[in-house]
């Protein structure tokens, strides 16, 4: 069954290509995007409950989201989402375009603050501290919860300055030697040092797409965050570059909590330990990756992973 307003081609892409490009731009979720009428009806026709199935809890939770709602003006983009994010694991948020997974991701480091019409309710805590509380500066929060975006977005500065940017603004390095050290370590952890060590002064925008994305990851980990949010980090990359980034994620997951939004189920299966399936602003199902892909509990999840919903 094909959803209205969704082409056959998109559906097949979602199944086969791990590098598909989602047609939305999650870096700035358009507030006016309302769910097509037909899709809503689909939910009602199937007559399933709005409750999240599976297990939203995990051992050792680091970030805890409870009853999160997001409105963009009139549009109710996220409805009652509750989810735990554990330490030292990768959780993947999947779902069709416009399902709210990117919006939810951006709630986790308050990137929605810069959208005037966005209103967030509910609670999200980081290590027991409410991140939407008045005493918490979003600047300090974002130093702890870093973010990597869909499209590689290195600053038009040198490779060195790109990586040194975060440590510089946060005052993490006491002197030049320490800064050099941070830059080198970060580039190394991002697997980029070997390729760029002789040209740290060249502009970061001159690198290839995959290298640029790894530069952005290096830039993020240079601040030494506790959580890394990745918003479809591979959607603009070719399969080889994607594979490198996925290896990198695997490695980084030993040290950081990683939340990845992806449009590719294969990628979710490869890199994540848990998977959360979003549909039309609701969190439909959360579970261990194996369980979701082998034995989905919810009809919508099953439709999605079997390719009936693009």
């Amino acid at each position: 069954m094909t959803m209205p307003g969704m082409s056959e081609a998109e559906v097949t892409h979602a199944q086969q290509a791990p590098t598909d490009v989602e047609p939305e731009r999650p870096s700035a979720p358009p507030p006016r995007r309302a769910a097509p009428h037909g899709e809503r009806q689909h939910v009602r026709v199937s007559g399933l409950s709005d409750e999240t199935v599976g297990d939203i809890h995990c051992d050792n939770p680091f970030m805890v989201a409870r009853n999160v709602n997001v409105h963009y003006g009139e549009n109710h983009a996220i409805q009652d989402v509750s989810l735990d994010i554990g330490k030292e694991q990768v959780i993947a948020l999947i779902g069709p375009s416009g399902c709210g997974k990117s919006t939810f991701l951006r709630c986790l480091n308050r990137m929605n603050d810069s959208i005037e019409s966005a209103r967030v309710t509910g609670s999200i805590s980081l290590d027991g501290q409410d991140i939407y509380s008045r005493d918490l500066d979003p600047v300090a929060l974002r130093a702890r919860v870093g973010m990597v975006f869909q499209k590689p977005n290195p600053f038009p500065k040198s490779i060195y300055d790109n990586v040194a940017y975060g440590p510089r603004i946060h005052g993490l390095a006491a002197d030049r030697a320490e800064l050099d050290d941070i830059v080198h370590t970060s580039l190394e952890r991002a697997g980029l040092l070997q390729e760029v060590k002789d040209r740290l002064d060249e502009p970061g925008t001159g690198l290839s797409g995959g290298q640029q994305q790894r530069l952005c990851i290096a830039r993020t980990i240079a601040v030494n965050p506790e959580v890394i949010l990745m918003d479809e980090p591979c959607s603009a990359l070719d399969p080889i570059a994607t594979a490198r980034i996925e290896d990198l994620m695997d490695e980084l997951s030993r040290d950081y909590a990683i939340v990845i939004v992806t449009h590719s189920m294969q990628q979710a299966a490869r890199v994540s330990r848990r998977v959360a399936y979003f549909h039309l602003g609701r969190l439909v199902e959360v579970d261990d990756t194996d369980r979701i892909f082998t034995n989905p509990q919810h009809k919508l999840t099953e439709d999605y992973i079997t390719g009936r919903i693009g």
């Binding site: 030292e88 600047v139 300090a140 130093a143 946060h170 005052g171 993490l172 601040v223």
Partner: protein, 431 residues
């Protein structure tokens, strides 16, 4: 070093970040404050500007008038029994009427001072009344005549009565007379029609903007008749027909540069080409209009090109597919759709032309011209140039009139820009 699994590394980072937070927040607030202050500077200036103009200029729309019981004295006007419209002493009539109200003013000097309360326009007014109705001769009528500029200023409060007598243009005696007249209800303020019906004058109470307005009107007519079709035609050629070549690039660069050439340089062009080479008359709205068309042409071309670009190619393709020639596509389909944008650009160009004065100084439109121009080759001036001329006059009354003229000019500009906005809103199409 950044082994993230080591919690102490994280907490060290957090401590460093938090240590700098207060300083960074302060800087953030300062930066934002600077931004707000900068935005406020522009807007504040605009407010001060409008306030000053209105405070200075609003009173110019009212003129102080003296109510006099005028006797059209046969002995004064027609001593030989015949009324000579050219040489009769019309000025004496209102003077006598005023003097009749102050019988105790006898000395020559005092009488002259008293006479100065009346504008010289009063004599012309008496003459006009007699021309209209010769039977008035010998009658007595209550007539309102304009007061002299200084009286006007004093009544409107622009001259400080507390000031030392030597420092103000109105003497103590005159102030007393004026106060007496006011007490008798003989001084009134009425709408200043002279401001809109008269040409320029050396006397502030006689000076009006009609001549300048007509000059501006004639110039804008020439400008719109020349610049609109030429600008649209040039835009059509550049967008629809010109091959992408060095030549069209050159035209494009050239047009963008022309839009930024100082307007005074266009004045030099007008002086050298239109007046010295083509021997067209100086001070004529025709030449002014020619110069202003060259000045606004780039604006119109740029706006028209943008309007043509916004017509989707699918429309051209559809028409071409039906067998229309390129010319038919342009004139039947593209042009009607792009017209609102072109009109908007033209109105904005016209409003720029209306406010322009520097090039007009070059082609002699700064002359002191009393007559209201009646054609495209009559000597004329323009509204902004009139403002420039009046602003140079030392009299307080001219400062008031300058502000009033500015208000009129800004009113016209506002109307034109509103029209542009409305056209854009009304005829806007979403593709």
């Amino acid at each position: 070093m950044s082994s993230a699994d080591d919690p102490s590394a994280h907490s060290a980072t957090r401590r460093k970040v938090e240590a700098g937070l207060a300083r960074r927040r302060l800087r953030e607030r300062l930066f934002k404050g600077f931004g707000l202050a900068a935005t406020a500077v522009g807007i504040l200036f605009l407010c001060v500007f409008v306030y000053t103009l209105v405070a200075q200029g609003a009173s110019a729309f009212r003129q102080t008038e003296l109510q006099l019981d005028v006797h059209f004295d046969r002995d004064v006007l027609a001593p030989d029994g015949e009324l000579d419209l050219e040489y009769a002493d019309f000025d004496a009539i209102p003077r006598d009427a005023l003097r009749a109200m102050f019988p105790d003013v006898t000395s020559r000097g005092d009488r002259r001072e008293l006479n100065r309360l009346i504008s010289i326009a009063a004599g012309f007014q008496i003459r006009d009344m007699l021309v209209d109705d010769p039977s008035l001769l010998g009658e007595t009528r209550t007539v309102r005549v304009p007061a002299a500029a200084n009286v006007d200023m004093l009544v409107k409060g622009h001259i400080d009565r507390a000031l030392d007598e030597a420092l103000r243009p109105v003497s103590d005696r005159q102030v007393q007379w004026i106060e007496a007249l006011q007490a008798n209800g003989r001084i009134e303020q009425h709408f200043n029609t002279a401001l809109f019906t008269n040409g320029d004058s050396r006397e502030p109470e006689l000076a009006g903007i009609r001549g300048a307005l007509m000059g501006s009107l004639y110039m804008l007519l020439v400008t719109v008749v020349l610049a609109f079709p030429i600008g649209v035609a040039a835009a059509i050629y550049l967008e629809e027909f010109a091959p992408r070549s060095r030549w069209s690039d050159l035209i494009e660069v050239n047009i963008n540069n022309l839009a930024a050439v100082p307007s005074i340089v266009f004045g030099l062009l007008g002086l050298a080409v239109f007046i010295n080479w083509m021997a067209l008359p100086r001070s004529a709205p025709l030449v002014g209009g020619l110069v202003l068309s060259l000045l606004t042409l780039p604006v119109i071309i740029i706006a028209s090109r943008a309007a043509i670009q916004s017509v989707p190619p699918s429309i051209r393709e559809a028409a071409l597919g039906l067998g229309a020639s390129r010319m038919q596509v342009v004139f039947h389909h593209v042009l009607p759709l792009a017209l609102p944008g072109m009109l908007t650009g033209t109105i904005i160009g016209m409003s720029r032309a209306l406010g322009e004065s520097a090039p007009l100084l070059m082609i002699g439109m700064v002359a002191f011209i009393v007559d209201v121009p009646g054609g495209f080759t009559d000597p004329a001036t323009a509204l902004p140039v009139q403002i420039y001329l009046w602003a140079d006059s030392p009299e307080r009354a001219f400062a008031e009139r300058t502000s009033a003229a500015i208000l009129v000019l800004l009113g016209f500009l506002l109307v034109m820009n509103l029209a542009a906005v409305i056209i854009r809103k009304r005829m806007e199409r979403k593709w």
